[in-house]
């Protein structure tokens, strides 16, 4: 398939791997920000092929994983109401809230629907004028423009029965949070290519300067990731800390201006809680006051819902790159994709789900993990 196969080419991958091997003289820890990159790394077994001195740790860039419990509980509460059609990206249906998930709301009669685009939810609102249509607007900078467009469209159509439950996160403040933690091991970042396609990469320069870390804008195919690793390692070996772009076929410095303006018209920066990590200042987007009539939290009066999470799994440390899925005593035993303890096991982009699905082949040979069912 054109524009995909070229970036999975085995010969070029081997050549890049050998370039990485030549470059490395000491151990380095890199974090890939995006869950899509984690998924590719596991799917193509890239971690097995990299030299042992290059360690990849998995970042917090899975929107499903970091959506806080109270937002999930609000979703469950709203979706259970008889007058509501609750529209969501498919991945959110299995994320456990307090005691249930959207799939179980659906099984008990809630009208929960999977949509592929927020604009489909707007269409639903037009088609079902007697019902309330609520869209679960989650995600990073990548989904924000489309979610903002849905709100603008509902506004210009004068829809009274459409609202959004917003849970938007921004990557740069999370990188600050990770780097300012005293336990931080990360020495370089593979920045999330699709986030940068929207936002550009000017936001990362102050981070690279402040913490002296290389940041390489990286794509999602095996060759993209290996190229990102090579550029980050080269910087580290040469003592440089700069922002570089290894994903120039999709990303320019300023990003997509139209998308940024769209986001800015509808959303404003706010503090946000990340599941597994905690509160990170300025790390989210919420609706601007002029669009508050589309705010599902206000419309359904669920803004005060604040459940406490129990302390069972280590997804918090995993999302900060402090631990890996196989360090978790519950991995594959009490915690599986069907009965996830933590959000990192739920989404296909979650680090634990990627490990479970594609496995660490060495670990599979080890019967304690091999017998995980």
């Amino acid at each position: 398939m054109k524009f995909v196969d070229e970036f999975r080419d085995p010969e070029l991958a081997r050549a890049t791997l050998s370039a990485i091997r030549k470059e490395v003289t000491e151990p380095w820890v890199l974090m890939e920000i995006c869950g899509g990159q984690t998924h590719s790394i596991m799917r193509y077994g890239l971690d097995q092929l990299l030299p042992a001195m290059v360690e990849l740790v998995h970042g917090p860039g899975c929107p499903v994983c970091v959506t806080p419990l109270e937002q999930i509980d609000k979703a469950l509460e709203i979706a259970s109401r008889p007058e509501v059609i609750f529209a969501s990206y498919g991945d959110m249906l299995r994320v456990p809230g307090s005691g249930k998930d959207l799939f179980s709301v659906h099984a008990t009669g809630g009208d929960v629907r999977v949509v592929y685009s927020p604009l489909d939810a707007v269409k639903l609102a037009q088609q079902h004028s007697q019902q309330e249509v609520v869209f679960f607007a989650i995600g990073f900078e990548t989904t924000a423009p489309a979610n903002a467009m849905a709100v603008e469209q509902a506004h210009s159509l004068g829809l009274e029965n459409f609202s959004v439950l917003v849970s938007h996160s921004r990557v740069p403040p999370a990188m600050h949070a990770i780097l300012s933690s005293p336990e931080c091991r990360v020495q370089g970042f593979l920045a999330a290519g699709h986030v940068c396609a929207v936002m550009g990469y000017w936001e990362y320069e102050p981070i690279s300067d402040q913490y002296k870390v290389p940041i390489v804008v990286t794509g999602f195919e095996p060759l993209d990731i290996l190229q990102g690793v090579l550029m980050a390692i080269r910087q580290l070996e040469q003592g440089r800390a700069e922002v570089e772009n290894a994903y120039s076929r999709a990303v320019i410095y300023d990003g997509n201006q139209h998308a940024q303006q769209l986001i800015d018209r509808v959303f404003m920066v706010c503090d946000r809680k990340w599941r597994g990590i905690g509160n990170i200042p300025s790390s989210g987007w919420c609706l601007r006051p002029e669009y508050s009539r589309f705010d599902a939290e206000l419309r359904f009066a669920v803004e005060d819902l604040a459940p406490r999470e129990s302390q069972l799994c280590i997804s918090g440390q995993i999302l900060q790159g402090l631990k890996k899925p196989l360090d978790c005593p519950a991995f594959g035993l009490q915690c599986t994709p069907e009965e996830p303890l933590g959000a990192t096991m739920v989404s296909t982009e979650g680090a634990c789900a990627a490990y479970f699905r594609y496995g660490d082949v060495k670990a599979v040979a080890d019967s304690s993990v091999g017998e995980r069912r």
């Binding site: 081997r14 456990p96 102050p206 915690c335 959000a343 091999g370």
Partner: protein, 356 residues
């Protein structure tokens, strides 16, 4: 941008309490993946337990009073939409059961069919479905010898559902089943994967684009019969329907307690299916097929069997996709093009709409 964060409130390991195993049936229980296996193992198997059922093939192998062994299978069809590119619920209802019977190496002869019809369904639509069933039955060479019709109130069903059962005779001495794969065997696949799942998804109009893909729904009994006649070294036949090739191979690996290693570049996928999967984030290995089979055969028989498959209408694009190994038992691995290995797990729950 000047966002410096001095302190971040770290709550430590925060996570929700585990959800209890589901107390109600979820869509995922019908996906053909792990949730469904669990339901079978925890509910159906203990209730109906007997040696035939315990083998766990899609068809049961029975003998009545010393006659030639029979393969018996039953399959309910609830696909929506009722008509899709390349097929319809009628053709599916015949082929699904014919194929399940054929995968024991049996020669399917007779089917039964029961219809659950929703009040208000146009008779003309039912006629089209029934004519399609008859055409598929004629192609397979089977007869529909008994049936039943029920009508439920409007809104209590979605158009119509069809359940078929199939009966076929097994040649004496033939021992084919999911538990018969042995280390060294070769894994053969009859053609490109994922056509049915993508065709149905596209026909539902939910993709936002139209994939130019036709369902592969077809009766595989003639292909299966050609395979069985070509060699005595056939150990497993399996049609990878819901859950796709990945799930079927996991079932075989578990039942036979062997490992299976696939070669990434060798698994055929049509470009239109590959594109749709890339866009939707699906892996074709998990997408349903209704006209493909996996044959696991003794190493030295692989070429002979491949030749026989390629001589048949539904096996022209047959190819070798992997090898059976001793290790790791019960698991399927993929050797990637760039030389690493990864685990190919079975489908877990439901992400796809119902497709058969």
């Amino acid at each position: 941008m000047s966002e410096t964060i001095d302190t971040v409130t770290m709550e430590g390991a925060v996570c929700p309490v585990p959800l209890q195993p589901s107390e109600q049936i979820m869509l995922g229980h019908g996906s053909g993946g792990r949730l469904m296996h669990r339901l079978i193992e925890s509910l159906f198997l203990p209730a109906f337990d007997n040696p035939v059922l315990r083998v766990g093939n899609d068809a049961g192998r029975i003998s009545i009073q010393g006659d030639a062994p029979l393969a018996v299978s039953t399959d309910a069809h609830v696909v929506w939409p009722l008509f899709f590119p390349g097929g319809d619920i009628g053709r599916l209802a015949v082929c699904g059961t014919v194929n399940d019977v054929s995968m024991l190496g049996a020669d399917p002869r007779f089917l039964t069919a029961s219809f659950i019809l929703e009040e208000g369904v146009p008779t003309g639509l039912l006629r089209k479905v029934v004519e399609s069933m008859q055409a598929a039955a004629a192609e397979a060479g089977v007869e529909i010898i008994a049936g039943d019709t029920k009508v439920v109130e409007k809104g209590k069903a979605d158009g119509l559902y069809i359940t078929t059962a199939g009966f076929g005779t097994i040649l004496p001495g033939l021992e084919i089943g999911g538990d018969k794969a042995r280390p060294g065997d070769r894994v053969l696949l009859s053609g490109p994967i994922g056509d049915h799942g993508i065709a149905v998804l596209s026909a539902r109009g939910e993709l936002g684009f139209e994939a130019q893909v036709e369902s592969d729904v077809a009766p595989l009994n003639h292909l299966a019969s050609a395979i069985v006649s070509a060699s005595h070294g056939i150990h497993v036949l399996r049609d990878p329907t819901r859950g796709g090739v990945a799930t079927s191979l996991n079932e075989i690996a578990r039942a036979s307690q062997i490992g299976i290693v696939l070669e990434e570049g060798s698994i055929p996928v049509r470009p239109a299916v590959q594109s749709a999967c890339e866009m939707l984030g699906f892996d074709p290995l998990y997408v349903a097929n209704e006209g493909k089979l996996i044959a696991i055969v003794a190493e030295q028989e692989a070429e002979t069997v491949l030749d026989a498959m390629r001589g048949e209408r539904y096996g022209e694009e047959a190819t070798l996709i992997g090898t059976v190994t001793e290790e790791p038992p019960g698991r399927v691995l993929m050797k990637t093009l760039i030389g690493s290995h990864r685990v190919v797990d079975e489908l877990s729950g439901e992400m796809l709409p119902r497709i058969c």
